[in-house]
């Protein structure tokens, strides 16, 4: 079987507005949990249907059932009027159901083109037609308006770009029903815009889109209808024009939106850390001060130099110029070890790659930075180890059966609590949070923000990096805007408008649009 650019656009057979997929009491039980209570829902051909809900509300379960990854416990699935088993991923794909996942599940060591045609390679006499595939893949990518090369290794692209390729891949396979699971979690604004363009175009071609996201503004930007899941129950479906964010949030968590961004103001104390004209790989001339009791927000696009700045501050990379002052004294931070000894703590951006030892127990993850302290002489004190871990689990309300459970068995939000929690016992003075709420539900977000207040009240300072403007806007006492490695603007708490800040972060990018190659 070969795919060519001509087959790029799927040809849905159903007129828009007709029901393409109907769930009739769809239900899933695991031993011990009722992951999805009977759902009755009809998806219309050519609609963008958003699904929102907290982590653990049953969204992933629903996706897994729809894509045939696991079998349902009971209920009926009716596809284009006919009941279907939908028991295997293969069956789902044959019907035209595809999914683009949050974490890209493609081969990093193959080219973009090879990934696009994976499983459906073009061949002649048993030999791969590599050049033809690159050409066709490039045609598809160009056709979608993505400015990306087809011949490079997938792993050489940013995660956001890989996500776009994953989306492009899903569109070439006669897709009629496409599920996006948190697609923008790692995308820059520009990439997200490209993705939205693609989604709208698919909709125009009659493809049904299921869009799952924690980001409300995206739901309102894209969706025609939205369904809300809470604790495995479908609590409501609304036309997007007839609802608003507060209503959805309330449906999701039974709590009002003001309670999420929990901001307490503390009087700022002495400076904990100060950088003077710090430069390094990816950023230059950055002067930032963090005082006790304040949150310093760093806003900018992904790749604007924020992460590079904090990892250099944390000793991961060498600075090329400038000074770091720790509590007024100049210090050399040559390794993470030095940073931790001074009293810095970093909760990194990617919890799977950098934050957690997934196949180790929760307790060990929590105690990793403090084993030195809970050892007397050579041996670890078992009692202290247990006490510290159990205290963190209780304080942070980490949902885990015991401290011996593996970190991988916890939900994303609870994993994030471990990443943050392991620094609390360590007693750090400066906490650096790099995108702490990516892929985390509203309820856990609120808990994480509350944690910030606890840290501040104990005299710590916080650097908060976020690509999600409302988050830094509502929380930061001082907000620095980064663009292309430079600190371009500084604001106080809520002293600038969203538009101004966004403009400052984007400015140059807009002038030089499409600088990707």
């Amino acid at each position: 079987m070969t795919s060519t650019a001509q087959e790029l656009h799927p040809a849905p057979t159903l007129a828009p507005g007709r029901t393409i997929l109907e769930l009739n009491g769809l239900e899933k039980r695991y031993p011990g949990t009722h992951a999805l209570k009977p759902v009755h829902l009809a998806f219309k051909a050519g609609e963008i249907h958003a699904i929102v809900g907290e982590n653990g509300a049953g969204k992933s379960t629903l996706i897994k059932l729809l894509t045939g990854v696991m079998p349902r416990t009971s209920g009926e699935v009716i596809w284009e009027g006919k009941p279907t088993a939908l028991a295997t991923p293969h069956e789902a794909m044959a019907l035209g159901i595809n999914a683009v996942h949050q974490e890209v599940v493609l081969c990093r060591h193959l080219t973009v083109a090879a990934n696009m045609f994976l499983g459906e390679e073009e061949s002649r006499f048993g030999l791969l037609q590599q050049r033809a595939m690159v050409k066709d893949a490039q045609k598809i990518i160009d056709g979608l308006g993505f400015d990306l090369p087809a011949h490079v290794m997938l792993g050489d692209l940013t995660i956001g770009q890989q996500q776009l390729i994953a989306a492009a891949r899903a569109t070439v396979r006669g897709t009629k029903f496409l599920i996006f699971d948190e697609p923008t979690a790692y995308l820059t604004r520009k990439e997200a815009d490209q993705l939205f363009k693609l989604i709208r175009r698919l909709k125009g071609e009659g493809v049904t889109i299921i869009y799952i996201s924690h980001r409300m503004e995206e739901v309102f930007e894209l969706a025609d209808r939205v369904s809300v899941l809470r604790d495995g129950t479908l609590v409501g479906t609304r036309n997007i024009a007839e609802t608003d964010e507060p209503e959805l949030v309330k449906l999701m968590i039974n709590r009002s939106i003001e309670q999420i961004y929990h901001k307490e103001h503390f009087t700022a104390g002495a400076a904990i850390v100060e950088t003077k004209n710090l430069s390094g790989k990816g950023f230059e001339n950055v002067s930032v001060t963090v005082r006790a009791g304040e949150i310093v927000g760093l806003y900018g696009l992904i790749g604007a130099g924020r992460s590079e700045f904090v990892t250099t501050l944390y000793g991961r990379h060498r600075k090329s110029a400038g000074q770091i002052l720790w509590q007024g004294k100049e210090v050399q931070v040559n390794s993470e070890h030095d940073a931790i000894r001074l009293g810095m703590a970093l909760a990194p951006e990617s919890r799977r790659d950098q934050g957690l030892c997934l196949n180790l127990p929760v307790g060990m993850n929590l105690n990793l930075p403090i084993y030195k302290r809970i050892s007397s002489n050579l041996l670890i004190s078992g009692a202290k180890e247990k006490a510290e871990a159990d205290r963190q689990i209780a304080d942070l309300r980490i949902k885990t059966p015991t401290r011996h459970a593996l970190a991988s068995s916890l939900s994303g939000g609870n994993q994030q609590k471990i990443v943050i929690g392991k620094w609390l016992a360590h007693g750090a003075k400066l906490f650096i949070f790099d995108e702490p709420t990516v892929g985390v539900d509203v309820g856990t977000k609120a808990e994480i923000y509350r944690l910030f207040s606890t840290l501040l009240s104990k005299g710590a300072g916080i650097i908060l990096i976020s690509s999600y403007l409302p988050e830094v806007y509502e929380l930061a006492d001082t907000l620095h805007v980064f663009r292309r490695g430079k600190l371009v603007a500084t604001h106080g708490f809520r002293t600038a408008s969203h538009e101004d800040i966004l403009g400052q972060a984007l400015a140059e990018k807009q002038e030089k649009s499409g600088g990707q190659k």
Binding site: I340, D353, Q354, G355, C357, N359, M364, L368
Partner: protein, 321 residues
């Protein structure tokens, strides 16, 4: 429906009983079966012989496990054993006191471990490659040093050690205990043990948590090299010669013992008691096959098959939990 459900239930329960059989249970079961099936198994001579045979691989397997827990592998240990038999033989024959000869030999093991750490941390070589390289080179260096000849060790007291026993248990097995207890404490009750696991699970997360990842990797390979040198000394004492070709395939037996003992080759999962039991399971298979007069060629085939079966069932048992 219900009539179908009942027979379906029964074999499952039997399976559970089978999975519940721990590795130690398997080892004891093998001993009981052999004791009943052959007259010569349960004799003092055979048991002490079995303990001596298993001891060397057991010590190697512990070192190997430290390395595997960090997500690495040490293919050189067999070659280190052969090489260090030569070193200790040369030193003793050159008139060094035994304690000094042994000490220097152990330092050679440490140096080899440091070299592996250097290759992995500083040169960025994969553990498989750097230890594969030392595996072939060390044999070569040993052959160059000896011209391909065996060196007879002219010290009776050195050789007497491997023949001796205390409280009816051979010294060689006492050495296993002497290695195992500190190893257990090190792995499960010190922070360095925890760091081994954290590096094997996610080196980046460990680094960001303040774990000195390079030092941890050095430590794992140094321990493996040191334990291999200890085995080299013990083997030299047992066979009375230094010969660089000794210890052939020991690395593979050590890896097999470790894996039989539940160590994950992907890192971050492992223990000290597991590889110990694993190594004695392996040597019991060899010993039993000898006693049962199984063709030695077939023994290799059987050992391979049993490794597959044991690790498969152990994996099922763990996943079942």
């Amino acid at each position: 429906m219900s009539t179908e459900a009942i027979p379906a239930e029964k074999p499952k329960r039997n399976f559970n009983a089978l999975f519940g059989l721990t590795l130690l249970g398997l080892l004891l079961l093998m001993w009981i079966v052999l004791a009943v099936a052959t007259p010569s198994f349960a004799t003092t001579l055979n048991i002490t012989n079995l303990l001596r045979q298993g001891s060397l691989i057991a010590i190697l397997a512990v070192g190997q496990t430290f390395v595997i827990i960090t997500g690495g592998i040490d293919l050189s240990v067999g070659a280190v054993v052969g090489f260090t038999t030569v070193i200790v033989a040369l030193l003793i024959n050159a008139g060094w006191p035994i304690w000094a000869a042994v000490l220097i030999t152990l330092l050679v093991g440490v140096a080899i471990g440091l070299f592996h750490g250097f290759g992995i941390v500083k040169m960025g070589l994969p553990p498989f490659i750097i230890t594969l390289a030392t595996m072939t080179s060390l044999r070569g260096i040993g052959l160059l040093m000896t011209n391909g000849n065996s060196i007879s060790i002219n010290s009776d007291s050195f050789q007497a050690f491997s023949r001796g026993s205390l409280a009816g248990i051979p010294y060689l097995f006492w050495m296993v205990i002497l290695v195992a207890i500190p190893s257990y404490v090190f792995l499960h009750h010190t922070r360095w043990g925890r760091y081994l696991f954290s590096v094997g699970s996610n080196a980046e997360a460990a680094r960001l948590s303040g774990v000195n990842v390079p030092r941890t990797i050095f430590m794992a390979y140094v321990l493996s090299g040191l334990l291999a040198a200890i085995v080299g000394v013990l083997l030299a004492s047992r066979i009375g010669i230094g010969n660089p070709t000794q210890g052939d395939t020991y690395e593979l037996q050590a890896i097999a013992s470790s894996v039989i003992g539940g160590t994950s080759l992907f890192g971050a999962i492992g223990s000290v008691h597991g590889p110990l039991i694993g190594s004695f399971i392996l040597s019991t298979i060899n010993n039993g096959a000898n006693l049962l007069n199984v063709n030695t060629f077939w023994q290799r085939v059987i050992t391979g098959l049993l490794i597959i079966v044991i690790v498969y069932f152990d994996g099922l048992r763990r996943r079942g939990k």
